[in-house]
Amino acid sequence: MRLNPLISSVALATLAFLYLPMLAVAVLSFNKTRYGLQWSGFTWDWYVRLFNNPEILEAARNTFVLALVSTLIATVLGTLFAIALERYPWPRRVQGFLENLLYLPVVTPDIIFAVALVVAFGAFRAVSSLFEPGLFTMILGHVTFQIAFVALTVRSRLKSLGRELDEAARDLYASYGYYVRRVLLPLLTPGIVAGAMLAFTLSLDDFVISFFTAGPTSQTLPLLIYASVRRGVTPEIHALSTLIFLVTVLLVLASERLTRR
């Protein structure tokens, strides 16, 4: 296919436009001045300070714990849900209801999702103080949107597997437990890993749901960046953002690799 040079240049300009913000942040993270946007020399200083800033380290720890715990829970629940959807002969109406349940967290606008969680935790708080805003409520919230993404990924893998291996296992007198452990789960592993990576990245990346469910002691990195934008950005935040950008790129590339295999 031959392309009009005008179209190519518009495309390249658009792509540059997408990268301009990140490029600016990365450049400024190596800038010597603390204030202003003028370039005054190269320094690694802001990266060094980053690792000596207790507030940022605390937020990084929270982000990681939140992503890890919620991904573990969502991976288990999402995988089970995908198996239930694909491997059980539910009546048509039940199946339709379950499909809706699966797509609902994906299509609900972020902010309405967050508001629903706020209302839910508000009601639960009347029962137990466990539901005070904090890391626990954030984990519950993140799992709620992650389940759907894990289930969708695992499900597409289940669909592509077909039923021959299942039937062969059962014909050879595998019990259901043995079949799940030794046949189904190993076959599903690539899908489960891909789903878990997707869920993990989504959790790291999430702002809106964290913003609405976080408490005073459960600041995560996106929340910290948002708060410091309100206070006035420091070059440390540029350095932090650049690091987050690099980590995300690595995660995305790794999960691409895994899913393609």
Binding site: M1, L15, T144, S241
Partner: protein, 301 residues
């Protein structure tokens, strides 16, 4: 029901299958029902309640929140809330439109790369989409700041007062929104463009169709499936977006997402917040309905 059936090589009955299936099903189903579906539905009830003096919810039936949503406040009628709702609809519409216009060249460009590098180019579109939205948005704040080249250029051209920046402004909101949502249009569009039947384009050219006519009659209809997905993926989240208008729009350019956020934070008025959320839901559904009708028209052409 005790009829026997063979299900994935297992001789069993439906009753037994259902009993075991529930163990797989219930954990996730209860989780989503309890934390999303039921709270979401309870927003309807909440929107008819009242705010107590300390920001608590008082369960008195009232239509007050909906009156406020239509603009009737303490000081008589004002168009503020209606303006916010219409503005959200408009911003989402313009964002989607510009994203489409920019996505076509990019999708064709990627599709025209040799297969070996094609996925590299595609990855280049995906990477910004995976970068945290807060980071991308504050980066635009800097790029549009008074002493950055863009604002300097606008100042030199007399479009902007000296020493003022390009944000907060509607323009900044549009720029932020477009960069945030462009990948959502490019990716599905690319999958349609990749499968394009070029013989139709050649046929159109053989019959001396103009370039514009070739595009609209031989290319555009073939890309509609991808475009549809792209529009839905952009329009719905753009309506409820609150990070971008919050950081780039300033206090004068509020969108419905900001209004909802205010009710659950500063003003602690959950019932009104619930009513606004439902308003956003309705707007989203209206947008989808209009789009569907338009989509049908296009199909007929």
């Amino acid at each position: 029901m005790n009829r026997l059936l063979v299900w994935f090589g297992e001789l069993t009955t439906p009753a037994r299958l259902y009993r075991r299936g529930l163990w797989f099903l219930l954990p996730a189903a209860i989780w989503i029902l309890g934390l999303l579906v039921i709270p979401g539905l309870s927003l309807v009830a909440l929107s008819f309640a009242e705010r107590g003096p300390y920001g608590e919810v008082v369960w008195n039936f009232s239509l007050e929140n909906y009156r406020r949503l239509l603009g009737y406040g303490l000081f008589g009628w004002s168009p503020d809330t209606i303006l916010i709702l219409l503005r959200s609809l408009w911003v989402a519409f313009v964002t989607t439109l510009i994203c489409i216009v920019l996505a076509y060249p990019l999708a064709f460009f990627i599709a025209s790369r040799p297969p070996r590098t094609r996925y590299l180019w595609l990855a280049l579109v995906i990477i910004p989409f995976w970068t945290n939205l807060v980071i991308r948005t504050y980066a635009w704040q800097m790029l549009l700041a008074p002493d950055f080249p863009f604002a300097r250029l606008a100042q030199a051209l007399g479009l902007l007062a000296p020493d003022s920046g390009l944000y907060p402004s509607p323009l900044a909101v549009y720029i932020g929104m477009i960069t945030a949502f462009l990948p959502f249009v490019v990716l599905p569009l690319f999958s349609s463009v990749e499968r394009l039947d070029w013989s139709l384009v050649e046929a159109a050219q053989d019959l001396y169709a103009s370039r514009i006519r070739t595009f609209f009659q031989a290319i555009w209809p073939q890309t509609l499936p991808g475009l549809t997905v792209g529009i839905i993926l952009t329009f719905i989240p753009a309506m409820g977006m609150f990070v971008i208008p919050d950081l780039l729009g300033g206090a004068k350019y509020l969108l419905v997402g900001n209004l909802i956020q205010q009710q659950f934070y500063a003003s602690r008025d959950w019932p009104y917040g619930a009513a606004v959320s439902l308003g956003l839901m309705v707007l989203t559904l209206i947008g989808l309905a209009i789009y569907r009708r338009r989509g049908k028209d296009v199909d007929l052409v």
